[in-house]
Amino acid sequence: MSIEENEKEIIDEFNIFGDDWESRYEYIIDLGKSLPLLSDAEKHDNLLIKGCQSKMWLKTYFDGTLMSIRADSDAIITKGMAALVIRVLNNHRPEEIVNAPLNFIDAIGLKEHLSPTRANGLTSLIKQIKLDALAYLSKGSSETK
């Protein structure tokens, strides 16, 4: 599925909740709880994204064609949000990832997570994913970051 189709799917899922924020958050929280994204052994300090109130680790991999993404956080809501972003972007070509507008976050009523004052790292996460994608794009060979 394309990035856009992934986004559409998530938007459809969230439509069921209407404007009930509690269900939306419960969904995100469940997502955050159920996904072990990185093992503790993998959570090296060099994978930390700086400047977030909660800790956020990002590990990306490029096989020469597609980029795969894993991330984790010590805050559940942040982790749930990261899981959504990964679901949308994972296993796509770096140029698709660099250019993805990620409108779904606004569309599912969670735009507040992109506000800079939240300092929750979602903005930093997306930025770092795109920076990694750019780096892979310019090198073109397989690599782990």
Binding site: W21, E22, Y25, E26, I29, Q53, S54, K55, D74, A75, I76, I77, T78, A119, N120
Partner: protein, 407 residues
């Protein structure tokens, strides 16, 4: 003195009357900044509407009137902290600016290579970084006095660490993260026995308790208007006259000189020596109005009521097994920091916001303190006299819902 009634007092604060995320706003982030009563807002509007002019410059009527009002504001501040003279009150941009002024000017004159500056482990970054910078610039060293698990400084620990090379002690009156009211009078007394001057960061004290700089015998006392119901962008440095006379100017420019030629300058006496450029005139007026507002209520009533609020909030939180209060001193201002076991403060704050409750989460600009407790941050409810017991109940209910959602 009118009978204290928070319901009436709330009517003075327009920002409190709003819905956030469809709930009545519960504002428990007063430590970050407090709301402004209508009288303060009106005084600022009145200045720009009818009185606007520059101070200390013109002979014309408006300029004379506003100069008088600005200097009257200085006198109001003087009485507020019971300084001996109004010229011991320097207007600054805020606490951070006041501390930087002292670090620069006092540091330049008095701190040399090999000297020491002493702070405590619970300081706000604004009372750490200027001293780190000074010590780095001068080749001096920074000494940090430890705290105990309850979040208290022991006077003996302070006294023990003072040496002949200690040039200044800088310590907070009330901890913004823990709420602890430090025994600064004793600390100042002991430091003075060794001839060491003391700077007090009073940012979190002035909204909650009566400060008397002469009784404390503080050498420097710093605070911000915005945390005490006044405007942002203005603050105060109280300093003993003898220090102000010996310290060189902080910033250079208009307003701080008596005579100037290209051969040299003679500086104006304090406080003008430290107030280069056009100040935040409306801010000074607004601050004086805020002080008059506080005085009308009176610290006796404020302290009594806030103590009851604090005790109630702490007892409610104590009943929750998963909650641990960080900062358990007997002597606290109306600040409660806590963590919820197994949950990240950020997650809890996020859900509380959804219920209209404004708290602060994170390290509160006291990272060394968080390292000491080995936690990533806390959830902080910092109260003011316009908060109510009902709000605490609503907050506790919201907290319980948040914990249920997140666990």
């Amino acid at each position: 003195m009118a009978i204290f009634n928070p319901i009436d007092i709330r009517k003075d604060f327009p920002t409190l009357e709003q819905k956030v995320n469809k709930h009545n706003l519960i504002y428990f982030d007063n430590g970050a900044t407090a709301h402004k009563p209508k009288v303060v807002i009106n005084s600022i509007q009145e200045y720009y509407t009818n009185k606007n002019s520059n101070i200390h410059r013109g002979v014309h009527t408006l300029s004379r009137q506003i100069t008088e009002a600005y200097e009257q504001a200085r006198v109001t501040v003087q009485h507020f902290v019971n300084a001996a003279f109004s010229h011991e009150i320097v207007f600054t941009k805020g606490t951070t600016d006041s501390i930087n002024l002292v670090a620069y000017s006092f540091g330049k004159r008095f701190v040399k290579a090999g000297d020491e500056v002493m702070i405590s482990a619970m300081e706000h970054h604004s009372n750490i970084l200027p001293w780190m910078q000074l010590c780095e610039d001068r080749g001096a060293s920074l000494k940090v006095v430890p705290i105990n698990k309850a979040g208290e400084i022991k006077v003996e620990d302070f006294t023990k660490l003072i040496t002949d090379r200690t040039k200044l002690v800088a310590i907070t009156h009330v901890s913004n993260t823990l709420g602890t009211i430090n025994p600064i009078k004793e600390i100042i007394h002991n430091a003075h026995l060794r001839n060491v001057p003391v700077l007090i960061d009073g940012a979190q004290a002035v909204p909650h308790l009566k400060v008397d700089v002469q009784d404390l015998d503080a050498d420097f006392y710093c605070f911000s208007a915005h945390k005490m119901f006044g405007p942002t962008g203005v603050g105060v440095l109280y300093a003993k006259e003898k220090w102000l006379n010996e310290m060189p100017p902080y910033q250079s420019g208009g307003g701080i000189i008596q005579t100037v030629s290209f051969e040299g300058v003679t500086y104006a006496p304090a406080p003008l020596k430290f107030e280069a450029g056009t100040p935040h005139i409306a801010g000074g007026i607004g601050l004086a109005t805020a002080i008059n507002y506080i005085n009308q209520i009176g610290f006796e009533q404020i302290e009594k009521y806030e103590n009851e609020l604090l005790n109630y909030a702490q007892s409610q939180l104590h009943q929750m097994e998963e909650v641990e209060i960080i900062g358990q001193s007997e002597h606290k201002a109306a600040v409660v920091s806590f963590i919820v076991k197994g949950l990240h403060p950020y997650d809890v704050g996020m859900i509380l916001d959804k219920y209209g409750v404004a708290v602060r989460t994170g390290h509160h600009c006291t990272q060394p303190l968080m390292d000491y407790y080995k936690i990533p941050g806390t959830i902080r409810a910092s109260l003011a006299f316009y908060n109510t017991f009902e709000e605490i109940d609503t907050f506790v209910t919201a907290l319980k819902k948040a914990i249920k959602m997140l666990s």
